[in-house]
Symmetry: C2
Subunit: 302 residues, 2 copies
């Protein structure tokens, strides 16, 4: 049976919301209890660009919420609430739409948040937009613009080749982000690719940087993908998008405390470089010496 807006909103409304949700889906707005400060984000995902018709709908729904959860994690914040607006082809079977919404709900639950509302609209192709709200960490959110010269550059995990599947099934680094909020001087999530995203932190903080090629953690998927593309695994680690690991900077005087606390929590973050004063240049250090930093990463472009 094809989907109907009202039936699906009713299905949304049947879910048990958390204690902070006074009114869930089904009215003009959801009504929620919130802390004095919130982080807010929104992300758009379209068929053909961010996922394919062949991808499992549960994973597509999961990704739509996790992308926003990742933005929240990148502030060191904790996800609280999500809304999802979806454009759905008119003939799609209701069961398939319910796979999609099940994925959204599973993702919200996996990061300790509630899916509190949505909007469904018929249209030519599947498109999902999530909006998320989160609680900042006690010391305040971690921005992109607050790195300093001399800070060390880290990533939370191996990079590259996410297109082989991880871009749909990843789990936002919420625990890591909350932990890092006590240490990091600047942070963001890697969505466009390391090469472009590190430039975002550098530009926002008015700094340059050097990254050691040998230190960049390469995901096995980047190795697998390189066998198909003929590019190096490092190329994929530097330039592929949608890793959704966190990229952060650490004041060097916090290094010992940070390493000890990370070990205690079982985190294996990877140090890849250092922020330098503006004017120092942006370099990838290789065995053959420093090379100018190149951005080959993804950007939606007109």
């Amino acid at each position: 049976m094809p989907w109907r807006e009202r039936d699906l909103l009713a299905a949304f409304a049947r879910k048990t919301p958390g204690p902070a949700v006074a009114v869930g889906p089904g009215d003009d707005c959801a009504v929620v209890s919130v802390p004095p400060s919130l982080v807010l984000t929104t992300d758009l995902m379209a068929e053909g660009t961010d996922f394919l018709p062949s991808h499992p709908l549960r994973s597509v729904g999961w990704k739509s919420v996790m992308i926003s959860a990742s933005d929240i994690a990148a502030m060191g914040a904790s996800p609280l609430f999500f809304l999802v607006a979806a454009q759905i082809p008119p003939g799609m079977e209701e069961d398939r739409v319910l796979e999609l919404t099940a994925g959204m709900e599973a993702a919200a639950e996996a990061v300790g948040a509630s899916l509190v509302g949505g909007d469904l609209s018929a249209g030519p192709s599947l498109l999902l937009v999530s909006a998320g709200a989160g609680a900042p960490p006690p010391g305040g959110p971690v921005l992109r613009s607050t790195a300093r010269a001399g800070d060390l550059v880290f990533v939370t995990g191996p990079l590259g080749g996410s297109i082989l599947g991880r871009h749909l099934t990843f789990r936002a680094r919420v625990e890591e982000g909350r932990f890092l909020a006590s240490f990091a001087s600047a942070m963001m999530d890697i969505s466009d690719g390391l090469s472009g995203d590190l430039v975002h932190i550098a530009d926002a903080s008015s700094l340059d940087f050097t990254v050691s090629a040998a230190a960049v953690p390469v995901h096995p998927d980047a190795v697998a993908l390189s066998e198909r593309t003929g590019r190096s695994p490092l190329h994929h680690a530097l330039h592929d998008g949608e890793d959704f690991e966190l990229l952060f900077t650490l004041p060097p005087d916090r290094l010992d405390d940070f390493l000890e606390a990370s070990r205690d929590r079982g985190f294996a973050f990877r140090r890849i470089g250092r922020m330098t004063p503006k004017g120092s240049g942006r370099f990838l250090e290789t065995e053959e010496g420093p090379r100018p930093w190149r951005i080959l990463s993804h950007e939606h472009r007109g």
Copy 2:
């Protein structure tokens, strides 16, 4: 020059946000100060369904924010923050995209709120999704489900024919909603059309109702449209969508206070009927006697 995501996000970020906005567009999330409770909503608008390529982009941007502002008004709440995610055709001129964002910003400002973030993505046709957060009224948000038998049914203004232009240029009934929060037992905004939306309140409140055909305020646009369609102006007032007036119920013992306070504020709300116990039936009273209530209003449907 065609638009580029980064340039436009920078343009967003140049705007001066309100005092409650600690971090505006440009980081992974916006950071805002909020009251202890919030209402949250999201709405999707697509070219071809909700607007046409011939419509002015400033109005399209205005509408994208006002639709969510109207949901917030329908709870008796005050809009605080909006996020807008947009899918934009890759070749669109940057000046035209800036018309769109100018309309969003004007709408947010018109309802006393801030546009704090967004997401821009290239895609085949223009599509906008707004998410809004608002502060509930002191006595708590007004729901759809809390009307009682005997309550009087009102609308805030004349209905029908919004397709002639008002559906793009309307101003959400935020002032009215805040005022009504002290009186209304149930409320929603008229987006699908009166005939369907009154059924939403009745179903949510487990009630029936009677509406007087002669009392339904008919907009001059409904008259103008009826000359083209051959349908009656009343038909358009009952069944057209996107009026974005508020539909609300009032306990009869509040009527005198309500009328006096409305007069003092210069509001001219229109009483159109009465909620009745479930089982009484749903009727439109006409000169020829009661007729069964028909729903011919809009619903996105699979």
